[in-house]
Symmetry: C2
Subunit: 498 residues, 2 copies
């Protein structure tokens, strides 16, 4: 065994421990959101903090860098070569910041998040702006340090942590394209919609037991394996756990079953991706999900492309009515389709429909770039926000609570994350189109509640690829083209102007 | 700050991380037994294994020994001095075995446990004896290595891992005393019992919802804080989680509510101890439970001393009947008391009553000493077992399945653990007597469902002491005497011959 091969083997062992400890964190996070009594919070925070520092120490140790350098000389096959590249990327991110900056950033994030928790319900941006200013200064410092370490532009260096290889230069034209398209398109959709009969909301209440049974039924139909996962309740729906034990949560609303149901189908998309990542690489970086945008593409493919479609709702409508005890016009597939594809510009991102959602992201992305680029200061965010909402959606928040204070992201230090939502939506349309082109039986099968053809294609084209390829390589291999917004726009036109 | 003080401070940080990672293990174990889908087993085993090796590395690192040596010169108060002693003890245990032995032992444990899982249902000792022989040889080697490292006799070196400071020389006279007492006493109890009316079993079935409500009601009455803990279901009841988030499990039997209820009260005793360990020392060795025998004393004090008593059942009988929908003679306190204090020699330890339980332990303890001492070989266990059961309980297992194969302990490598059960039972009687002597209102309060006087006394005398004192020091301080069986025997006579 050469030194280089030994170094690579040692890296595999080190990253295995790193990722398995990350799995432990995943289970503890799930428990915290679903099972933990409130008095356990402090102990849990301590457990997560020690796991975090233990993992960081494994990753950021000088040996890791030495091993990465040494392993570069090893003869490696494609998977191992990609694995080593992912190791190096993670190591560079972990070591880009000196300890003082990490600590200052962590303190500023906590302080700003605390201030935000008070400021949001009061709609009082002034109450958080001082903390946000401190945080922004440190985020800029972080971006600069990571830019140095990674050889990237500052915004790209932040984005890269969520979206490996993601670059502003590639996002800008996509988002510009959408920004030019959306306002006018939205006007046409609203007009078109006004000419159709308004959907009839199914009459509630909808008991939780029925909603749960329905969710489990549809999850199972989509291929969620309850021997390798669970469905539970939490305040905010999420997909957690680990690939062989994927845990989805739902929040039930007895007055309206649709948000909970759609959220669970969305999380099922995430779960199916996690579950089908390449098992041979479970505990190596190359075996992990490719990026946030690809993850979101899988959840949106299931939720938006599949489950809000006419074929799916033709299959699901009787199940929905059956589980929730409803019959009649409000419960038929056509009405449910109109209900679940209703478009209405609104102030809140997480409540937004498929057509208006990108506008929310584009406004945030523009502000992020300006803040990180130093051309905007924290105090200028509310005005920029309101201007963007007016320009793209024609609405203005009555206050910052429903405006620039609505999302936690910026206030707890997550800058460079927002664009991945819309990159995911665009990718979902492109991937679903490619799937249907590759297998013409997919749509007919969906109408019969058979998702095997779709999942078989996704499994090999996306899921089983792990992080073997870059995002552009993966999309090109799977869909024949790099990411562009054409098929997303086609999808929107087909669905909302038909 | 002197070097010694710095060394001590570094040890506190190291052991904090060690113990907090242990808490993470605790939550993952709980999840594994209560929530995890079966397909998650392999991933969970991996998570627990990496946590184990990560913790072991922290403890067994050469720096730990250097720091322990250096910290010995520090000026420390009583708690810190005791903390350092516990650190040293844990470090000595962790480093006593060389890696080859640890690995061989681990392999032998797994092989023997696997063989046992087949052998037990078949009652086929021959199917496991070869693996057990290998395991016994390695356990003896372990005992010898630990004996060297700790300066103890081989059996004591194994025992010390469960019962710090526990010594065969102190257990032998206690168990000899009981062994001389029990067979004749058991005869008198059975005779006495035969002259009283047999208890009437309350008629089932007992729906799980009612059993759960009852368990939660009684747990809360005993002081279990559901803001800092949960009650769930698992195959075997246990008390897990962490002190600020204590998780008890129960197994419901719809045909007989008594085993589940008594188990949950038993685990509540464990939980109350964990919950009231000294908060200032949560993440230090000195803040942990003193030993297995003291832990068991707290569970048995609640289950046996308190909850199977007339005063408790006078309070609980209406609650039990109310929750389970029963009324009439079978549900009154006197009948329930006779039911829950019924004595009957049987083959199975975990089903044994308070009078016959020690006999099960004494038989196992005798065999353990002979095996570790090299005067008995694995193949001789069945004969020794059957002879012991006959001598102490007057019964002989029809086969090894209900005999020496019934417990997993030996077959998965836990040698030196069994005596702590009966040490705990003896200590429970002694501690409860001291409590009542210190506060004469305790018994009357119990009869009214008020456990505060008892818990207040236990809290300061036992729980809040953590591992500050040795077991003999703790018992002497709390009860005025070292452990002896007198008060346990008095308790048995008072309860079973009155």
């Amino acid at each position: 065994m050469t030194t280089a091969a030994t170094a690579y083997a040692e890296l595999e062992d080190r990253f295995r421990r790193y990722l398995v400890l990350g799995q432990a964190q995943g289970v503890l996070h799930w428990d915290m959101s679903t099972m933990m009594p409130r008095g356990g919070a402090e102990a849990r925070a301590e457990q997560l903090a020690v796991l975090k520092t233990t993992r960081h120490a494994l990753l950021a140790a000088p040996e890791t860098g030495d091993l990465v350098a040494a392993a570069g000389e090893a003869e490696l096959d494609g998977w191992r070569r990609a694995n080593l590249a992912e190791m190096e990327r993670r190591w560079r991110h972990a070591t880009a910041l000196d300890e003082d900056l990490v600590e200052a950033l962590s303190r500023a994030e906590t302080a700003c998040e605390m201030a935000w928790r008070e400021a949001r319900p009061a709609g009082d941006f002034a109450a958080v702006v001082a903390d946000l200013k401190v945080l922004v200064a440190l985020v800029r410092e972080t971006a600069a340090a990571k830019a140095d370490a990674l050889g990237l532009a500052p915004y790209d260096a932040l984005l890269d942590a969520y979206e490996p290889g993601g670059r502003q230069a590639e996002i800008d034209p996509l988002f510009d394209d959408l920004e030019a398209f959306l306002p006018q398109f939205l006007g046409r959709v609203v007009e078109h919609q006004a000419r159709r009969p308004a959907p009839v909301p199914p009459p509630g209440p909808f008991p939780i037991a029925g909603q749960r049974a329905l969710a489990r039924h549809l999850m199972a139909a989509l291929g969620f394996d309850f021997d390798h996962g669970r469905l539970d309740q939490s305040r905010h729906p999420f997909c957690g756990g680990v690939p062989d034990d994927v845990r989805i949560t739902i929040r039930y609303d007895e007055d309206d079953f649709t948000p909970g149901l759609m959220a669970v189908l969305h999380e099922t998309g995430h779960a199916l991706y996690e579950r089908s990542l390449p098992p041979a690489w479970r505990h190596q970086p190359v075996g992990q999900a490719r990026s946030m945008s690809i993850h979101e593409s899988q959840s949106l493919l299931i939720e938006m492309q599949v489950c809000r479609s006419r074929p799916f709702l033709a299959f699901a409508a009787p199940l929905i009515g059956g589980a929730l005890g409803g019959a009649g016009e409000a419960w038929d597939g056509d009405n449910l389709y109109r209900l679940l594809t209703r478009v209405e510009p609104g102030l809140i991102r997480v409540d937004a429909d498929e057509v208006t959602y990108p506008a929310h992201v584009i406004v945030r992305y523009g502000i992020e770039k300006a803040i990180i680029g130093g051309t905007m200061e924290a105090a200028e965010i509310p005005a920029a926000w309101n201007e963007g909402m007016d320009r793209l959606l024609g609405i203005t928040p009555p206050g910052d609570g429903d405006g620039c204070l609505q999302d936690i992201h910026w206030y707890d230090g997550a800058w460079g994350y927002f664009p991945t939502y819309t990159l995911g939506a665009i990718a979902a349309a492109q991937i679903f189109a490619a799937a249907r082109q590759a297998d013409a039986t997919i749509t007919a099968a969906i109408a019969k509640g058979d998702f095997k053809p779709l999942l078989a294609w996704l499994g090999q084209a996306i899921h089983a690829q792990g992080s073997l390829l870059s995002v552009p390589e993966l999309l090109t291999q799977a869909t024949g083209r790099a990411l562009d917004a054409d098929l997303f726009k086609t999808h929107l036109k087909d669905r909302y102007l038909a």
